[in-house]
Symmetry: C2
Subunit: 462 residues, 2 copies
């Protein structure tokens, strides 16, 4: 029993959480006196508050290798941008063996657990070998990612990426050859095999991910959406991350990306638009009206110079926000959450933008915490992100004695966490009821870090 | 001897640092074989890199009490901003006893040390008692701040604030009564007493701080500048944090703040403009041309909805950037540094904006590290922020085995730290050669936190 439990948008004292270890779900939540069977052991989590685990709804795990390696430009180049960064990213993608993919993903997932993420949506587009050939087992690399997640114990939604073009109506670039899914039927067949193979995994779900309007032909979208819909799978897509994508889309289809997706019937509550930095207000209304999700990745969007998504309009229109660590420049759900609000403050030059009503006023913290937990769970189609009976037992304990939280009260703690605290406040993390981080440490940390370092040391980038 | 030492904008191996403990300064830097006297003890800092201590050039320590307490608005208020935040800040300022000021400042300074700040410029404007009367000892509260810094061992530049008006040509507001310095002569007399009283303190310097063009009459500026200049003191001033200040200044003086300061002859290399979020490009050029410093406080500027300063133009024009934790919403020099760059990326939608030439290319990390260390030291007028013989021995050790740094090399470590790492990488901190943080802990932490909590618990805010 922790000192405080975050539930229904606020912290509550005298609340214990009982977990069904077999099912990996929360069994009961309530006053300890009501819950504990006589003589049952109650774990006293001293000076701890318990939160739902954070959900990282958009990740490219292998990009963890790029950290610190793209923060420069040649003196001859007047400025760097997303597109020059992408060259380094492609070089990394081309360099990795299946074993490398495993080791990099494993360490990256471990770093996520340590920061308080209990689930990750892995937007997986590494399919082929470095020469662009299919592996003998076409799911070779997907399996490596899944194995990496299982090894460290993070819940994963493998978002199988469809990637067919190097731009609208353009062939793939040579450096995109590992991503290639040139035929829709083949892609769906592979996806069916994935679904079948992992149907019984308790920590794994599958989703579909048409990469973007740049990389997927318009006439595939309906079928991808229908295929996913029949199986109740989530559908994720990069949308309007860069102005150039919007321009290309307008030039080819005479409409911006979200309008195109609406026309193809893709927008619904199982759809998540990733980024949405360059959408119009009409498109924000369209996403909201469809009840779609929007996954912001603000630590990446600031790093890549993507820009700021119109979060206030999206939420106002009814879209559900989620967060993602994307390029792994930073892995910290607290920072990711607060940037949703802080980037809006910088854009609008006012405070307290994203709010939910609480205690007779409008509070920022519940809105941000919702995006970091339940919003992400919704995007990945998992019943997590809330401490309620029946939900998955994905939980995070934080250290109430951490200096960044000094002065907390039950009323201010959520705001301190959402706006001010570092991920270093996280002490313990449970996924499906099983503790994977204990006192800030993961049992596999030394080995996983050593293997990651070996891959990083071998990687040469331009 | 650590694994790596940050010196001259890059990390170097096989480098030891010898400290003169009596003088609190660095004595020698070089290969360990050259330095160690035969038989001398060499402290081996295993898996550590050594950096110059970070300098927090703009702080209001008592505002640490506001953390988590202003992240909401009444449902009836359409939006919150800097000015509504200021009401809560004034309420906190009015509530504190001298003992409270000591306890809050002490804990806040301790939190800074733990994050890697070795020096702080405390922009001190709490002068009078809660009724607006002078204390029997007019320096009562200044002494509490100084004692708090001395107790935890952080180096402090006490920036004595001059605050005479509630707006240009307007009387002070009732809630500004504790800040009042109604007469210039009286303010300078108090400053002279401060200088005299603390002349021999090794960890303390004094500077002058006309609060802003809002709060200080134009015809005081020349004399304040001359008085500071004769004593070689630094002069700090809030400049153009909010658009309303610029409008008020234009209305009263027909020119914006920096133009006014230029006309009054205040701009020089000892001057630091704090914020500068709403300056024009001409004013940026003016600050740069004078060789002035500019202290950005981006974690506060995003929290208060102030906006983004034109960092690229300022640096291009010759201004020296520094960082400050200001309102203490976040205390993390790494986050503060990276936001200088990241806010520019969000504003310009491109990458790699603030750079220094290194290794035949333009790198972001040295520019950010410079702002976080040497730039701040320059703003405070102290010889720190660099690991060189003769400089103050203010040093920070970071944990090279921290997960956020996995995959580092000597070439990428600075970029990982400046753009990606949390303050949790800091393990040990020395000020004037004396270790104040050891393995992430300060000896006074429990006691200081308990006293802080007592003050926080008593504070009622609107």
């Amino acid at each position: 029993m922790p000192d405080l439990v975050y539930r229904g948008g606020a912290f509550h004292a005298d609340t214990a959480v009982e977990v069904d270890a077999g099912a990996g779900r929360i069994l009961r939540v309530g006053p300890v006196a009501d819950l504990a069977s006589p003589g049952a052991a109650v774990e006293r989590l001293e000076a701890r508050a318990l939160l739902p685990g954070f959900v990282n709804a958009h990740s490219h795990a292998f990009q963890r290798l790029l950290r610190g390696r793209t923060q420069w430009r040649p003196a001859s180049v007047p400025h760097a941008d997303f597109w020059s960064w992408r060259e380094a990213m492609y070089a990394a993608a081309l360099a990795l063996s299946p074993e490398d993919v495993y080791h990099v993903s494993r360490f990256c997932f471990l770093e996520m657990l340590r920061a308080g993420y209990t689930a990750v949506g892995e937007f997986h587009y590494l399919h082929r070998d470095p020469d662009g050939r299919r592996y003998d087992d076409p799911l070779e690399l997907a399996q490596r990612v899944v194995a990496a997640a299982a090894e460290v114990g993070i819940r994963v939604a493998l978002l199988n990426v469809c990637y067919a073009a190097g731009g609208i109506g353009k062939p793939l670039l040579p450096e995109q050859r590992r991503f290639a899914t040139p035929e829709l039927d083949g892609f769906l067949d592979d996806s069916a095999v994935l679904l079948e193979a992992y149907a019984k995994e308790s920590l794994l779900t599958i989703g579909l991910a048409p990469h973007s309007v740049r990389a997927v032909p318009r006439d595939w979208l309906k079928e991808l959406h229908a295929w996913a819909g029949r199986r109740e799978l989530v559908l994720h897509m990069h949308v309007a991350e860069q102005a150039a994508e919007v321009e290309e889309c307008r030039a080819a289809y005479s409409k911006p990306p979200v309008e195109l997706l609406a026309e193809e019937g893709v927008l619904d509550t199982r759809f998540t638009a990733v980024h949405a930095t360059h959408i119009s207000l009409e498109e924000a209304a369209r996403l909201g009206g469809a009840g779609a999700g929007v996954c912001a990745c603000p630590t990446t969007e600031r790093d890549l110079g993507d820009g700021i998504l119109p979060a206030e309009e999206l939420v106002g229109a009814g879209a559900a926000l989620a967060i993602g660590s994307d390029s792994q420049a930073v892995i910290d759900p607290f920072e990711e959450m607060r940037l949703l609000e802080y980037h809006e403050r910088l854009r609008r030059l006012r405070r307290v933008v994203l709010t939910e009503p609480r205690n007779g006023r409008l509070e920022v913290a519940p809105a941000l915490m919702h995006a970091g937990t339940a919003g992400g769970a919704r995007a990945l189609g998992i019943d997590a992100g809330r401490i309620e009976p029946g939900a998955l037992a994905d939980l995070v304990a934080i250290d109430l004695a951490h200096p960044s939280l000094a002065g907390w009260s039950a009323d201010t703690l959520a705001a301190m966490l959402a706006l001010s605290a570092p991920a270093a406040v996280v002490t313990d993390v449970w996924v499906g009821g099983r503790r994977r981080i204990e006192q800030g440490r993961h049992a596999a940390e030394a080995e996983a870090a050593a293997a990651f370092r070996r891959v990083a040391a071998q990687l040469a980038l331009p």
